[in-house]
């Protein structure tokens, strides 16, 4: 795929990120968008595209944010919901709009307000989702099958049989997140985790433990995307998007033949083909960690190792930790920084590629792969900043 224009990520911003009481989701959105605008060095009036994804109706929409920021007329904008490419749906739409010429300066945000006590990505309310739920709640809820936590546990059980994955393999992913989070002041889970601590965490759905789930928070993250040409005149060294891709695989979270890897493999194939890069060229990775399971399977799908081999490949976390040969989820990921649904992984990549990583800076970082979500809602990017 050769895009007519090249897109660059030129700014990122965060709101407060927290558990429990705090600012409402509209105020959080204002914080992250203003921070991204300031970081990029653009004016609100320069923004002529806004793109956002939300699962249901938990976040402000494009036109609200236009009014909030006082942007000019929008040449391109989209609210994306439901079965879109999850946290990156807005990013990919913005990139396509900038590359095609539909707009010049795009704002992307993802805002969420998570109630304390709601662990992981489960809604906890199947009735509210009935109808066109991607998890078929209307036919599976009477069985006590609620959302993505049991759906992931079912994969972990099957994976154990097909690939011999051990509980410790997931444990090293959870521990890795805390090691990086210790270096990230924004992270909400910064205390160290031991394997004993992981293994003694509460079982929610065998063999899935509480610490296999990402950590729900309230917060917002925003990005500014523009053309390579405009990016040259802005504050920071632009981070170029060498490729972006989506994939749905079989298109079904539960009943597809690609139950163990979903669309991750097809998404990765597109990323490498479009970017002209390969796993060996990558300096660090931010792969989606809604669950520790998603991390192992994305590592395999991206071709860093063979299918089923990620447990051994991460070398008890040495390879992916600080100082390892493939630093992975260097902000602590959603497991430890908090669940901002993919956008924080992009912001972290941009920070690293600019060389602004401080105590967690990956040395000589020039290339990154970033992925989001899983199953039939996969997306990813290859970023470069030579």
């Amino acid at each position: 795929m050769s895009a007519p224009r090249k897109a660059a990520i030129v700014g990122y911003g965060f709101s407060d990120v927290f558990r429990g009481p705090g600012l409402d989701v509209e105020a959080l959105t204002a914080q992250s968008c203003l921070a991204a605008i300031a970081d990029a060095g653009v004016r609100a009036a320069d923004i002529d595209g806004i793109f956002e994804y939300q699962i249901g109706a938990e976040s402000p929409k494009c036109l609200y944010v236009q009014r909030l920021l006082g942007t000019g007329d929008l040449a391109s904008y989209t609210d994306i919901m439901g079965s879109g490419a999850s946290g990156f749906a807005g990013v990919v739409a913005a990139l396509s709009a900038v590359e095609s010429g539909a707009c010049e300066v795009a704002l992307v945000f993802r805002s969420m307000q998570q109630q304390a006590g709601n662990t992981g990505s489960a809604s906890g309310d199947p009735v509210a989702q009935a109808g066109y739920s991607p998890l078929h709640d209307e036919i599976v809820a009477p069985y006590g099958m609620f959302g993505i936590i049991p759906a992931t546990a079912l994969r972990m059980c099957r994976r154990q049989v097909e690939y011999g994955t051990r509980p410790q393999d997931y444990g090293y992913v959870a521990i890795n997140a805390r090691r990086w989070a210790a270096l990230n002041e924004r992270a909400v889970q910064r205390n160290a985790l031991t394997m004993e601590g992981y293994l003694s965490a509460k079982l929610l759905c065998d063999p899935l433990r509480l610490l296999d789930c990402d950590y729900p928070v309230s917060g917002s993250c925003a990005l500014i995307i523009t053309t390579q040409q405009r990016a040259r005149d802005l504050r920071h060294k632009p981070v170029m998007v060498a490729a972006h891709a989506q994939a749905t695989g079989s298109g079904d979270w539960l009943h597809g033949a690609d139950f163990l890897h979903g669309g991750t493999i097809r998404c990765a194939e597109r990323l490498w083909r479009r970017s002209g890069l390969e796993p060996n060229d990558i300096d660090f990775a931010q792969v989606y960690d809604g669950f520790t399971y998603s991390v192992l399977t994305w590592i395999e799908a991206l071709g860093f190792c063979g299918l089923g081999e990620a447990g051994d490949w991460i070398e008890q976390g040495r390879r992916i930790g600080p100082g390892g040969s493939l630093p992975l989820n260097t902000n602590g990921g959603q497991l430890a920084e908090g669940r901002l649904h993919g956008l924080a992984a992009v912001a972290e990549s941009v920070m690293q590629l600019r060389g602004d990583g401080g105590s967690r800076q990956v040395r000589d970082a020039e290339t990154a792969v970033v992925t989001v979500s899983w199953g039939p809602q996969c997306a990813g990017m290859v970023l470069i900043c030579p």
Partner: protein, 153 residues
């Protein structure tokens, strides 16, 4: 989630079976002790969850077809967390994906009942049975007699 004594005495209802135009036959069939799966009248493909056209040949001749109710456990999980108050008295219970013998990859989400947790395994042969659920019946699965014999050996 903490469950209080009063909640156990007066349990919240489980999520109701609310038949839709698309899946009413599935629930009606269960009420009569039959496991019905949507099937393409032209190419024979089974479709679950049901859809209005065949995803292989695009025929709109979709009709319920009775299947044997025999299957194999593809995977399972023991649900320990109470995700819904209606299941507070049920945990831990087993959610399983059952591959029906009629077609490769024809997979049903269901419960595996009357099976000690230490006997749970991928690959077990199971057979459908029916359990009351409000005014309806729920197709669930238990070990088929063959599987029980194999486990005993």
């Amino acid at each position: 989630m903490v469950t209080s004594a009063s909640e156990l005495e007066n349990p919240a209802p489980k999520p109701a079976i609310v038949p839709t135009e698309r899946n009413r036959f599935f629930w009606e069939g269960a009420r009569h002790g039959r496991l019905l799966i949507a099937r393409c009248g032209d190419c024979g493909l089974y479709l679950h969850p049901p859809m209005p056209i065949c995803s292989r040949c695009h025929s709109s001749h979709i009709a319920p077809a009775e299947v044997s109710g025999r299957g194999i456990v593809y995977t399972y999980t023991i649900v320990r967390r109470t995700f819904h108050p209606g299941f507070a008295a049920e945990v831990p219970y087993v959610v399983a994906m059952i591959d029906l013998v009629e077609q490769e990859g024809l997979r049903l989400i269901s419960n595996l009942v009357d099976c000690p947790h230490e006997q749970l395994a991928v690959g077990l042969a199971v057979k459908v049975r029916y359990q009351p659920h409000g005014a309806w019946m729920l197709p669930v699965f238990s070990l088929s007699s063959n599987a029980t014999a194999e486990t005993a050996r």
